[in-house]
Symmetry: C2
Amino acid sequence: MNLIKVRTTSISNILHKLTYRYASSQALVTDLKAIAGNENVSNSASVREQHGHDESYHAGHEPDVVVFAQSTDHVSQIVKYCASKHIPIIPWGTGTGLEGTDKLGFTYFLLNCIFFHIGGVTAPKGGVCLNLSRMDKIISVNPEDFDCTVQAGVTRNALNTFIRDTGLQFPIDPGANASLGGMCATSASGTMAVKYGTMRENVMNLEVVLADGSIIKTSGLKGRSRKTSAGYNLTNLFVGQEGTLGIITEATLKLHATPEAVLAAVAPFKDFQSAVDATVAIMQSGLPVARIEFLDEKMVDACNRFSKLSLDVLPTLFLEFHGSNNNIEMQGQLAEETCKSFECLKFNYETETDKRADLWKARHNAIYAAQALRPGSKAYSTDVCVPISALPGMITFAKDALKRLNLLGPIVGHVGDGNFHVFLIIDPKNAEEVERVHEYSIALAKESLRVNGTVTGEHGVGIGKKQLLIEEFGPAGINTMKAIKQALDPLNILNPDKVI
Amino acid sequence: MNLIKVRTTSISNILHKLTYRYASSQALVTDLKAIAGNENVSNSASVREQHGHDESYHAGHEPDVVVFAQSTDHVSQIVKYCASKHIPIIPWGTGTGLEGTDKLGFTYFLLNCIFFHIGGVTAPKGGVCLNLSRMDKIISVNPEDFDCTVQAGVTRNALNTFIRDTGLQFPIDPGANASLGGMCATSASGTMAVKYGTMRENVMNLEVVLADGSIIKTSGLKGRSRKTSAGYNLTNLFVGQEGTLGIITEATLKLHATPEAVLAAVAPFKDFQSAVDATVAIMQSGLPVARIEFLDEKMVDACNRFSKLSLDVLPTLFLEFHGSNNNIEMQGQLAEETCKSFECLKFNYETETDKRADLWKARHNAIYAAQALRPGSKAYSTDVCVPISALPGMITFAKDALKRLNLLGPIVGHVGDGNFHVFLIIDPKNAEEVERVHEYSIALAKESLRVNGTVTGEHGVGIGKKQLLIEEFGPAGINTMKAIKQALDPLNILNPDKVI
């Protein structure tokens, strides 16, 4: 099986499953304008191109029509209409990555999406791309309860700007300025997850439009309590469902106190094994590190070039600590001592806000830095996540496999979670190289499963990892997911053919 | 609607839904012995009585047969057999409360269970109580990854004893020595949730036997990674499903470092409002308190009598801090300063391990202390949970309603979570008083919903709160839960008629 074969299969699957019941794209546009208003529906070439275009190495496939929803009621009516005609619907967040997937997952995710688009938004008889970016109201902020409720199109930067004066922050940081609805749908994660958790731990309630157009709140109609045992945990069923079970229109999110003090540090190591061993030791010590990111020497070199840094070209940890003025230095010292016991060559503190921001900006731009190593290339990101004790072996495996398959792949990762990415730099026109990338990706995922890890720590399944998901869960587990999908979306109109 | 009416309804519902296909209880016993072995199946009067008996004020209803499962394979075969004959199955943990519900939830939970038993285990044509307490193997402990995997019947005390030398603990503490499988099924919580979260945040993977006897792992066949985006979040669908979607046979759990230093404190206040206001202020300050429990003056009085303490009979906070030798005193001081700014009369530290244990034992025995206030009585515990800012108003409402309805109800609660319990002390033979208790419970739940809370913070829904669950979620939300139940248990044999 190679990537091209997956693509072919997905077309035929979807054509087989879906029967469209409208006469033409123009009829669809007319009907949708009646629901959502003329100004919110577009089938212009440029808008369709924008919503079909991506950064992967496959040509874009455009939706027949793009609807800019203004309200939950819009979404509900559009879904009811699409359900009545069996038209597939793809939710769209900010376009920083479909549904707000993080920049790190961007390319990989879009690789999946492009396959999906063939049958989803851009199947021969069309489909609806539901753009939620105009649903951008911050509905309420409750500083005394450390929570807020936002519409799906609010971006994380917009929220953090809005609440700046409250002393609170929403720390989940996938890099891109993703929409919060998209971050919920994809269970976004990123560099801060090691301290603050992923979206799974930070979503308190969701408003979701189901496949029949009905509207639910996943944790009660007005629920904002910190815990509940009321019925099934629908909230965490809809976090990470990648738009296949419902369309998230609002989210109630946990906020966290902005730390009194922040300290960052850059620690280059003699070799990658020492850097990873130091990470494991720091995590096992229970030190509440806020960020701990690993970059191998190739990645550091790429960041130096792309982001105009002058870091030592060595395997490196970027660290950040959040705390009080009283304890922040102690946190740094403990980490420094641990790192130095693992052949860390320097431990440079960075206290200035601007320089710290530059560091994390460079980290967030790592995938672009990687692509820039080879003009005309695209990056394909792996996403395994393993128990922390298996991390050194896993990265060794990843490095050895790069050599064996003769591939260029800088490595970067949220190593505190046991999660890392190899950015495989591909010439998308070279079919033989694409085949080697695929072989690499499969080998890494299988090794992750062997050591009790997962095939995807934060990027999700899409279509590309459906076969691996079966290996991870076995037939009975997959059938359970299928039963839930069938129960909640019996017509298979929501992101059909994805995840399962 | 009163409690008796609910009971009648539930009988007729279940009779309507279930059709038994076996000739007699004896045939059932014979068949089950062939599956599980003679020594693991009992329909003796004493065993049935033990599994039908509870502490509520209704007469017990016994199952036809009790099976002591020895393995997941046993459970799977028994479920397959029961599915083929449409026989209901009730999983049973340690009997500290069905499925390991906490002591605080004990009586309330059993009130639900007794209604359930009428149609579940003890319907006219019988049913199977599946006792998992003999599945008590600790399968693996991975100290380097802060996780372990246990069979469902392992109790939390057995686990903590087993791992004592690793420097790790499993801190979720519902009071009773519940089975971990039961704690997963009911999403147990308790006094430590304010720092360590509930079961929802501490379960990494579950082995579950589904209603057709198939066996799944909810987070991958061998998954132990700290985060994953692989498919739907089945783990958190099965945590808290109260045995209605599947039978939990194994659990992979997060472990936490045993704190280097522990400090407890007892703080009596001039009035309950000050104690609650201090709690709100402590939580809003971000202080990482490990336990913060409120007891009103009636509760303190009851604990003094029952547990031979000599606390001031005043509204009181029990606090506990976990940290390093470096920071533990600072945590205590910050809490003390906050409390004293809210008319706290004393702030007595308790550093001795034994005395601290006595304090928490008294707290865990609070419901028995409450019952002892009135000989022959039973306690019915409410369980609302509200956003922290709504807590003072909510407790005021609870106190006023006690006066209005002329009820005795000491109040105790995990106030750091916004969760508290009124232990309504009832003469179960007094129908008019039972009616007032019911009125009280409904009024409190509705007020909780009004202020964005939940009708149940940790005890679950059972049958008693099904109507309130509909108010909390609305018809569309309930229909979503029903669709999931229908998809995973189409014959409705797993704890039928419960939750939804």
